[in-house]
Structures are given as C-alpha cells and as structure tokens.
C-alpha cells in the first residue's frame, strides 16, 4: 500500500479543489446568464412566459439539488443522451443557481418604483432597453450582496457532484480516506478548504450589505 504523507494528502486535495472552483464558476456564470434570460421573460407582458418562469423557479427550489443532478446524469443517459459527469454537474448546478438568482433579483427589481418603467416607456425606450439602461443598473446595487451570499450555496452544492463520480474536493476526500483510513484528518482538511473558499464570499456579501444599508 502507498503511504500518504500530510503533504501528499493536501496536494491531492488542492488539485481536486481546482475542479470545485471551476465547477462553481461555471455554475455561477451559467446561472447568471440563464437567470438574466428568465428575468427578461418574467417581466415580459406575455403571461405564458411569466407562468413558465414561476413553475421553473418552484420546481428547482422545491426539489433537492441531488435529485436534479441524478436526473441530469442518469435521466439523460436513459433517453440515450450521453453526458459526462462534469457536464451533468455543471448543467444541474446552472439550473439550480438560476432559479435562486431569478427569485433574489425579483425582489430587487420589483421594489423599484413603477414610475421608472413609465418614464422610460414615455421616452420611447423598448422593454429590453429599459431593462438594460434603467432597471438592471439600479437593481444590481441591491442584488449584489444577496447574490454573492448565495454563491456560498453554489460552492457547497458542488460537493454533490461527487455522488455522480465527478472528482472534485469532496470526492477526492473520500478517495483519500479509502486509501489512508484516516477520515478525521482527511475530512478536516476538506472542511478547512471549503471554509477558505466560502468565507471570503460570505464576508464580501455581509460587507456589501452593510455598505448598501449605510448609503441608504
């Protein structure tokens, strides 16, 4: 059996951490993109679109992320769409993230005065122009803190990708545990790394929230 020194363990964990970071970034970038589209759809006057967004949000918020990941990974391959563990994890995390972001942003957008929409309309701005030049720049100020706060959930959510066999931090941890039989040590390292990833995010979120509240 191979001997693992502490340094070896940490080195292996850090290599896997890169994948955790990458998956988080992909999910967050994808989530923002999808959430922007869904936000535009929700605010559009076509009732069918906003009903769709409402159902979408309910479904993804109302079911466990793990089930969403299973369905992406096993479900899609059952209808003979081959999907890698990375793709399945990125896809399901993107959908999950977008559902929460849409809901967070909804609060920020709907509290803007109706007069902002009306003035824009009277000046001849289209719906998308109003969104781009008037609504989003204002909503972003209030949305930033809770969105970054939510990104902590995304980072922690990537741990579930271990279940479908994607080697990120958690999966690397259990593999190292199987090799070393030192669960306490290994998972302490794992936990510390997650904390180092998440703490700056939640700190930033709290900082921005305070700054925003102070400036109001």
């Amino acid at each position: 059996m191979i001997e693992f020194s502490n340094i070896d363990i940490i080195r292996n964990l850090l290599i896997a951490t890169q994948w955790t970071i990458l998956l988080s970034l992909a999910a967050f970038a994808g989530g923002i993109t999808v959430a922007l589209l869904l936000t535009a759809a929700r605010l559009n006057k076509t009732p069918l679109l906003s009903i769709f967004v409402r159902i979408y949000v309910e479904v993804f918020q109302g079911t466990p992320l793990l089930m969403q990941m299973f369905l992406c990974f096993f479900g899609l391959s059952m209808i003979s769409i081959e999907i890698s563990a990375w793709n399945a994890a990125a896809l399901s995390l993107t959908l999950f993230t977008s559902a929460f972001l849409v809901e967070i942003w909804r609060g920020c957008i709907d509290t803007l005065p109706k007069g902002q929409w009306e003035a824009s309309r009277c000046l001849g701005l289209s719906f998308l122009q109003t969104l781009r030049y008037i609504i989003l720049p204002q909503a972003i100020k209030t949305a930033l803190a809770p969105s970054i706060g939510f990104s902590v959930q995304v980072v922690k959510g990537t741990a579930l990708a271990s279940v479908i066999g994607f080697v990120e931090l958690t999966k690397a941890g259990s593999m190292l545990n199987n090799a070393t039989f030192e669960p306490f040590k290994v998972f302490t390292f794992v936990a510390i790394i997650y904390f180092i990833l998440c703490y700056p995010l939640s700190w930033t979120s709290k900082f921005l929230e305070k700054k925003f509240n102070a400036s109001r």
Binding site: P113, G115, E118, A119, C122, L123, L125, Y133, P137, Q138
Partner: protein
Amino acid sequence: MPLVKINDVHKYYGDLHVLKGVNLSIKQGEVICIIGRSGSGKSTLLRCMNGLEDYQKGGITVDYKEVTTEDIQVKALAKSVGMIFQNFNLFPHLTVGQNIMLAPTIVLKQSTEEARVVAKKMLTKVGLADKFDSYPEQLSGGQQQRVAIARALAMSPKVLLCDEITSALDPELVGEVLKVVEQLAEEGITLILVTHEMNFARDVSDRVVFMNQGKIWEEGPPKDIFEKPQTEELKLFVNSVL
C-alpha cells in the same frame, strides 16, 4: 385636423367605469388645463393619451398616430408626446445630463455630441445649465422637476402632458416650475395639464376642461369656467377651490 383627437373614449378598471365617453379636440399650440375632483378620471385620461393605459371603447389620435398600448405605437408616440409626472421619475443612477441624453441617443439615434448640445440647450431653458453633471438626489424637488421637463423637451415633442407636476413640491418651489411651463406655453408648444393650481389655469390656459364622474362636464375659456360656471357641479367645485 386637430393635433389631439379624443373620440368617445370609455375606460374600465375591471368593473369600474372610469371614463364614460370622453370627447376632446386639441389644436396645435393650445394650452389646456384639466381640473376636477379627485377620482374624476383626469390622470386616467392623460395616461390614455400616450398609451400608458388602454381604453376599451372609442379612439384617440395624436399627431396623426392612433394611440394604443402596443409597444410599437407607444414608441412611435414618444416622438410626439412627452410626459411629466408628479414624482419627477428621474433616473437616480444617471446624472442630469445622462437623464436627458439617454432617449435622444438610443431612441432618436442622435450622436452623443448632438444629444449633449440639445441637453445643454434644454437645461439652459429651464435655468439649470450648471447642473449637467449633478445627480438627481443632489437637487431640490423644483430643480428635479425642471430636469424632467428638460428631459421631455429633448425629444422635441409636439404635446407635453403634465399630471399635477407641482403637487409633490414644497410651496416655495412651485413658482419656479410654473414659470418654466408658462414660458413653454408662450413658445407655442401644445400643453395639456392636469392641475390644482387654479390661478395658473386661469392665467395661462386657453381652455379649461372640467371633468366630473368620468366625463367632460364643462369646458371653455378660463374666464367663462371660473366666472360663469354653467353647471351646479362646476359652481360647487370652483367655490371649493378658489
């Protein structure tokens, strides 16, 4: 053909019949004041004139364009009709200059330079040439409302709709805004104002329209309306406000 033609317009909010057959023609250059009790439908009528509200029966044309709430119609209409709101509705994240230049650049496709020249001209007109780089929150209410007027003027509209544009202002700031409006009236822009400022209506308007219960109850030159009201309702109203 009149610039604004309102023909038997009916408007419902659900079961509430708010406009009950409104007819009104407004010529180019006229200054019209709409007066009436709270809830008589003044704002609703104004908002129907530029597609902010829809109506269920009748027709409205402004500057040869039919008014509907369709996005394309509203966009086309924005080049003929400007609106000033009670709460200014300036864009708080943009400077005064940006507030004014936004629509001319993206809707009228003016170059930034052209738009800047126009914006400065309009700001000078409302007496705020030095506020180009200020943010709305740095201005008083009266100044904000004058910026809103400059913003609307930059689109060079033919008609300006004003809905109680001095109601949110401290009394000492009302005058500066009314002065600007008076100056616009003299320059010949068509103005339709909903107002509670009876002195202003009497001194500045060509015609006063008294609305009651969703109808145009009485209309005429300000002298007639205020001095020789024909209907009991207008008499009561005039006595209550003068």
